[in-house]
């Protein structure tokens, strides 16, 4: 297990270093230029050279990569080119809002999706199963921005049961939570359908195992058989998907923050792209990458802890 953790940590670090280096190389590879992007098409060569110098783009690629990397490690992600503020200070508050939204969406997805799958597996081919199946096709076809727009239409335009705009104030928890409901639903809906199908399939698989039959033969009530005997094993595929779930939700925060006018790193990124503020965009991408990597790491470790069979194969197959 320890070897695995060390190897996995090394991979996570490697990925982060790769992303950092890629962000530096990307500027060289892509025909655009941050300085020109900031200044527009009519800038004089002198001015462009000056901005390039300010951004550190005139130095060699390894030098730039090292600079960015060593500063990032110390928590310095560069300065916002337009305001001159350190990017980290701008990120700070937004990061909390986005993290809370991400967490809320993941929890909401699991809390609704898994029970739906269990209920559907309870009577395969029954009424409830058929309804969940039909609804899930529609839900699976809706990208987060479509769900968010529909919720916005319903709650902001038609009725005002829940606040649909802004993030509320963290010092008033009730208000903050209310503001969280719609954005979190928008990101969770897809996973309700996805998890319901996944859990249903794996539940049916597990329920046909001999050990479950044994439990039934002992006379355990169906509820106990489903929830205590079968559920743990039926949830294994869900653990394997946690990384994917996190990726979907993090990417979705960009849309949802824009649509519900929430502060967060997603909406910050969009405004930074609009003003072509490369240092801010670069920093935000690094933050997203870090979130992915940490999420993937935790998911993999959790998978190992939950499934003892994987621990036996230590040392092999880490990268496969």
């Amino acid at each position: 297990m320890l070897t695995y953790i060390i190897k996995r940590l090394a991979l996570a670090l490697l990925v982060l270093v790769l992303v950092t280096v890629l962000l530096v190389i990307l500027v060289q590879l892509v025909p655009g230029d941050p300085a020109r992007a900031i200044l527009g098409n009519h800038a004089t060569p002198d001015l462009i050279a000056q901005v390039r110098a300010n951004l550190g783009l005139d130095r060699s690629v390894p030098h730039q990569a090292w600079d960015f990397l060593s500063h990032a490690v110390r928590g310095d992600l560069g300065d916002d080119y337009l305001t001159g503020q350190p990017v980290t200070s701008e990120l700070g508050a937004s990061l909390v809002d986005t993290a809370v939204l991400t967490l809320a969406s993941v929890v909401l997805a699991l809390v609704v999706g898994i029970p739906a799958g269990i209920v559907a597996a309870n009577r395969p081919g029954g009424m409830v199963d058929a309804v969940i199946r039909a609804v899930s096709v529609v839900l699976l076809s809706m990208p987060p921005y479509v769900v968010a727009l529909l919720l916005l239409l319903w709650f902001a335009v038609d009725n005002h049961v829940l606040p649909a705009l802004g993030a509320g104030d963290l010092s008033q928890p009730g208000d903050y939570l209310q503001h969280l409901v719609l954005p979190a639903i928008a990101l969770a809906v897809f996973w309700w359908a996805y998890l319901a199908r996944l859990v249903r399939a794996s539940m049916l698989e597990v329920l046909s195992q001999p050990y479950v039959r044994t439990a039934r033969a002992y006379g355990l009530p169906p509820r106990v058989v489903t929830l205590r005997v079968a559920l743990k094993n039926a949830l294994m595929p869900v653990t394997a998907l946690t990384g994917l779930l996190l990726g979907y939700v993090l990417a979705g925060t960009v849309y949802v923050e824009v649509i519900f006018n929430r502060p967060g790193i997603g909406s910050l990124a969009i405004s930074a792209v609009a003003t072509r503020d490369w240092p801010v965009v670069r920093a935000i991408i690094l933050v997203y990458a870090a979130a992915f990597v940490i999420g993937g790491l935790l998911a993999d470790l959790a998978y190992r802890v939950l499934d003892p069979r994987l621990r036996l194969e230590d040392g092999s197959g880490v990268f496969v």
Binding site: V30, V138, S141
Partner: protein, 313 residues
Amino acid sequence: MAVVQPSAVGGVPAAAIAAPERRWRDLLRQVMGRPSAAAAVVVVLLLVAAALLAPVLTPYDPTHIDVFARLQGPSIRHWLGTDSLGRDNLTRTLYGTRVALVIAVPSVVGAFVVGGVLGLLGGYLGGWLDRVLVVVFDALVSFPSVILGLALLTLLGPSVASVILVIATALVPYYGRLVRAQTLAEREVGYARTERALGASRTRVLLRHLVPNVVPTLLTVVAMDVPGAVVDAAGLAFLGLGVQAPTPDWGVMLNDGFTNIAGSPWGVVGPILALVVMTSAFLVLGESVRAVLDPRGPAPRRSRQWTFRKASR
């Protein structure tokens, strides 16, 4: 030419490597035998028809501005109302199918070609190339195209070409992994080993045997990714990072509808319906294709479950 026909050797049933056309026809017949899949095929064909026939189907120009008729609700003249500049929403939705396909198909195909070549090489040759590819693919595989798009589109500026590049780049590691896994599996199958034992070069085994066996199966998987690419492209356009107004794109329409949502909710209806209908059609179709291709055959799920429930009583 080898003395022994490689396709007749080894544990592979001849049918599995029969002429590709036969396989395609069989697949099509089996898929169309399922009512839900047949309906999905009809929907997909209708969408393609809408893309091709848009100018015939509607009397309006998708970019014709009529400010006196802005933000109208549905009427006989404008079935889905008009947008903030008085353009007909239904017309723009129909033309949007074109833009959607023009972006999605090249990105998916391009990504499959690049990812496929990398995956074949990595899977067949192995060695350091394979190891590097696996680490890079693993690192990038869940990286969503929106985030990637933020970086590339800041530097490149938004355009159709940049959007195709972004979506294709996000798909490459996914296809690379898929093709690599398939190649690894096929590499050790009897016919490939026989051909190598007969002295065929690596290139010959790769091109004559592995490619024809790996690619067709995966093409069906890849085709199902078209709606995903459309959704991503529309999302980027919605954020203002992709296709730009006044192009009649679903994402551009969503953006216009979103900005004016308080004035008229009808701006977002067309593109939302189009996106949901297209995605669900592909979803249903993909499920049927997978069920038909599943080597375990159609699972007798219901009857098995039923006997177990009976046994538990």
